[in-house]
Amino acid sequence: VRRRARVGEALATIRRCGGLSVVIVFVFAACSAESPSVLSPEGESAQRIDRLWWLMLWISLAVLAVVLGLMVAAIVRRGRRDVEVDRTTPSWGDPFIVIAGVAVPALILIAVFVVSLRDLDSITEQRDATLTIDIIGHVWWWEVRYPGEAVTANEIHIPTGETVRFRLTSDDVIHSFWVPELAPKIDMIDGRTNVLDVRTDVPGTYRGQCAEFCGLQHANMAFHVIAEPRDEFDAWLQNEAEPADSDTETASGLDVFLSSTCIGCHTIRGTEATGTLGPDLTHLGSRLRLAAGTIPNSREDLARWIEDPQSIKPGNVMPPTELSAADLDALLDYLETLD
């Protein structure tokens, strides 16, 4: 019974890939659950793109088969170097070229063009969004601003089953916003604002990453989109909008924060820290990862990050902070309460 369940699971995976041929699915073994794969679409526009991909792949394989078949035919009837040159022209030559090399490709391409244009129209069509989120690219992290007070970084919560509109721009160089499982990518350019509508019905955590080369740490500029049912989302947003708790037990940690260089760049709403160069830390404790997806958000990693961010993400804007062991502990205690 268990084996049958596993087979069923495998078949479901293959079906999820949208393909009919196990061989092709094997070659494009694209459904490993952990990959942020274009071929495991969970967003409305990503699903359209996925369907278009399989259509184009099948056509491509057919064309490739025809070409390889003709090559094999030519190889099978090969000759030798001293074969006399044949000066005749095959009567089928020109019609063959016109049909196989011009007419048929033109028809196929027109068909695919029409399909792709329909997709483009549908994906870019302006819908009624229930929520608009501003995303601002920085070297090398993502600022996320919700309507109202909520500001966070590198983590975007959205409600499922609704169209969410992202307004995207950059504070410095060009970045590109890409969540392969949800939507096509779109660039973030200083002086311009691009709009991307996303809708998914499937709750989950979707990895995104900067797709436009943006300098030294382009490789470490990831983020996560967390899609959750409306009520969970509302609860999260409400919490996110609130200022940080002022907990007397960790007040000494806040003092460390306010008396060190941290305050120059970071905001913790509800305190005197109002820096804007780095991410807003008001609810740091609730985030999945640190440094734009680079390391997990654990106490040890946070400590490493504060003491020596340059060894983790060389060239990033944050300078190392030298703290005594006691101060560091107090600071970590405090930061961990920020959720």
Binding site: V38, I49, S60, G101, L117, D172, G191, Q209, C214, P314
Partner: protein
């Protein structure tokens, strides 16, 4: 006939020694220099790529620092595009265009020499950036504002911008030379519809250069004005627009991609008839397809910018144009297939590379067609899927034909046959290595791996594909080294090639291997599209005068003919060897280094000495008439 050859030998011999070496204007020597220099840069760019792949063999490696990684991938791209693909295909063109059209040299031999020297100097200029540790690090596409003074304050981008302006001089000079040579110096009787397809390919390449390259130069001049003098072409805060750079760059950049492929396709079209033992089926379609690609290449640049956020209507139009480009490529592929199927294929090493090319080019073409669909492009652009695609098209589409060219034309250039067995070993290593390197990248890209990243996290399903790619690079590299070994070994020990080892169809096979400095003892009169097959009297490069051969032994001359019908029109006096092109190059190099370092005195000295050497070059010496 010997008397013609003896007299021509006296007139055309450039001598030996330093002055002949520095001053040569012989298109064959210059062509070989392009090839050798191009392959040196090829090795350099290949080593850069190998280092990149070692760094990416597994997640989180620290073989290269992020900065070094960025420099290496940027220089890999710049080198492959500007210092490898274009020069090597120009090298084949330099060597073989005059031979295939029955001329004694290129139309402007000194400009030709100048083109080579500038290519070498610009290559040195660009790579000297490594010596000062400030190599270009913002990619070959060099987007603003990352490449602005604010975000890249080092000399890296100045090396890039000035280096590309510098090399543009070389490419433009070469292109103009090809156009005039092909249109005016064809042997009598070589009407437009008898021009070998490789020559058409070089013509389409040259036309593309002339229209596309000025845009890159302008873009880089703007960039330098902005970086050095604070202009605001690309600066959003100053009223400029960073997207302007993208438009300018890709308006050049996409034609650039095609201009690399065009002569490579021409090369393939030259090899297929010889080894299919029949004339090309659908010659006219292939020529029209090449010219169509040249035209349409200027209408597709925005498909590199589908994710920029441009108006939907613009995306639709460019998408349509991009789909259209697929058609002429398909036309050529089916014309080649028709020729091969209807003929009797000879599976020489050169033909192995052509067949390998065909497989890779079709795969790359099919994935390329996918990018014409806007939404699919938006999903996969800037991912490894793109890296896979363009290596199939450019490395598969140009590198494999280049190697086919080495095996096909090597015997003509060296006078000795290359080892066919080693050649086939090299081919199979390269073919397997190539697919092992680049095929998994398709999948990594679909799995969401973005390109131009110096590292990646584990647990994202990308590890295996990256490891396979890294292994593949070394198999590919081994295959390449086998051919290099084969080349140098055969150059010394290979069997004599004779005039025509493959019984080829075009004029270069009618003269000796390697050809004499004057190419042909008599300039042939051509009566067919495949003269070497149809006109036995062409043998020895000395068509007898009673059959139409023209000795032209009075002076250092070649024959000019009319543009369409190739009727004899004039006798052209060709210049002799001259060191001035080299001097001018050195003066220009000084000027470019001056601008680079913002030391305006040095730049001024360079500019003034450039003007001076140019005067020296053009000074009338009354040397046109000699015997």
């Amino acid at each position: 006939m010997a008397s013609y050859a003896e007299r021509l030998e006296l007139v055309w011999h450039e001598g030996t020694g330093l002055s002949a070496w520095a001053g040569t204007v012989d298109h064959k020597r210059i062509g070989l220099r392009y090839l050798y220099t191009g392959f040196v840069f090829f090795v350099l760019a290949g080593l850069e790529a190998s280092l990149l792949r070692v760094q990416l063999a597994a997640p989180g490696l620290e073989v290269l620092s992020p900065q070094t990684y960025n420099e290496l991938f940027s220089m890999h791209g710049v080198t492959m595009m500007f210092l490898v693909a274009t020069p090597i295909l120009s090298g084949f063109g330099n060597y073989f265009v005059p031979l295939m059209i029955g001329a004694r040299d290129m139309a402007f031999p000194r400009l030709n020499a100048f083109g080579y020297w500038v290519f070498l100097a610009a290559g040195v200029f660009l790579n000297s950036a490594f010596l000062v540790g400030q190599a270009p690090d913002d990619g070959w596409f060099n987007y603003l504002p990352l490449a602005s003074e604010q975000f890249t304050p080092t000399l890296a981008i100045d090396f890039y911008a000035l280096g590309l302006i510098f090399i543009g001089i070389s490419t433009t000079a070469g292109a103009i030379n090809f156009i005039v040579t092909i249109l005016k110096l064809r042997a009598p009787g070589m009407t437009l519809n008898r021009i070998p397809i490789f020559v058409w390919g070089e013509l389409a390449f040259a036309l593309t250069v002339v229209f596309a390259l000025p845009v890159l130069t302008v873009a880089n001049v703007f960039l330098e004005l902005e970086r050095k003098f604070g202009f605001h072409f690309y600066d959003a805060d100053g009223g400029g627009d960073p997207v302007l750079w993208q438009h300018l760059f890709w308006f050049f950049g996409h034609p650039e991609v095609y201009l690399i492929v065009l002569p490579a396709l021409g090369l393939v079209s030259s090899i297929i008839p010889t080894f299919s033992r029949r004339p090309m089926v659908g010659y006219t379609y292939i020529v029209l397809a090449e010219l169509f690609i040249f035209v349409i290449s200027f209408g597709v640049w925005v498909h590199h910018m589908f994710a920029v956020g441009l108006p939907t209507i613009a995306l639709g139009i460019i998408s349509a144009a991009s789909f259209m480009v697929v058609i002429p490529s398909g036309t050529q592929i089916f014309a080649w297939l028709a020729t091969m199927v209807s003929g009797r294929l000879v599976l020489s090493t050169a033909m192995h590379f052509v067949l390998g090319f065909l497989v890779l080019f079709v795969i790359g073409g099919l994935s390329g067609a996918m990018f014409s669909a806007v939404t699919f492009d938006q999903a996969t652009t800037d991912s490894y899927f793109v890296v896979a695609h363009f290596h199939y098209v450019l490395a598969g589409g140009a590198m494999f034909p280049m190697f086919a060219g080495l095996y096909y034309w090597g015997p003509k250039m060296l006078g000795r046959l290359l080892d066919e067995r080693l050649g086939k070993i090299s081919f199979w290593l390269m073919f397997v290595g190539f697919n092992l390197t680049f095929f998994p990248m398709h999948i990594a890209g679909l799995l969401g791996q973005p390109r131009r990243t110096y590292t990646y996290a584990s647990g994202l399903g990308w590890d295996l594909h990256n490891l396979l790619s890294t292994i593949g690079v070394f198999v590919l590299g081994a295959g390449i080294l086998v051919t290099f070994w084969n080349w140098f070994w055969s150059r010394a020990h290979g069997e004599p090639a004779g005039e025509d080892p493959w019984s080829g169809d075009t004029l270069e096979w009618t003269t000796t291997s390697p050809p004499p400095e004057y190419n042909f003892a008599t300039i042939p009169t051509v009566r067919s599209r495949e003269p070497a097959w149809d006109q036995p009297k062409l043998q020895g490069g000395a068509q007898p005068p009673e059959d139409g051969g023209r000795p032209l032994t009075d002076g250092h001359t070649t024959l000019a003919t009319t543009l369409a019908d190739a009727e004899p029109q004039a006798i052209v006096h060709m210049p002799h060897a001259s060191p001035w092109p080299l001097f001018l190059t050195l003066a220009l190099m000084l000027a470019f280094y001056g601008v680079l370092l913002s030391s305006w005195m040095v730049a001024a000295v360079g500019a003034v000495s450039s003007a001076g050497t140019l005067m020296g070059w053009l000074w009338p010496r009354g040397e046109t008439q000699e015997t």
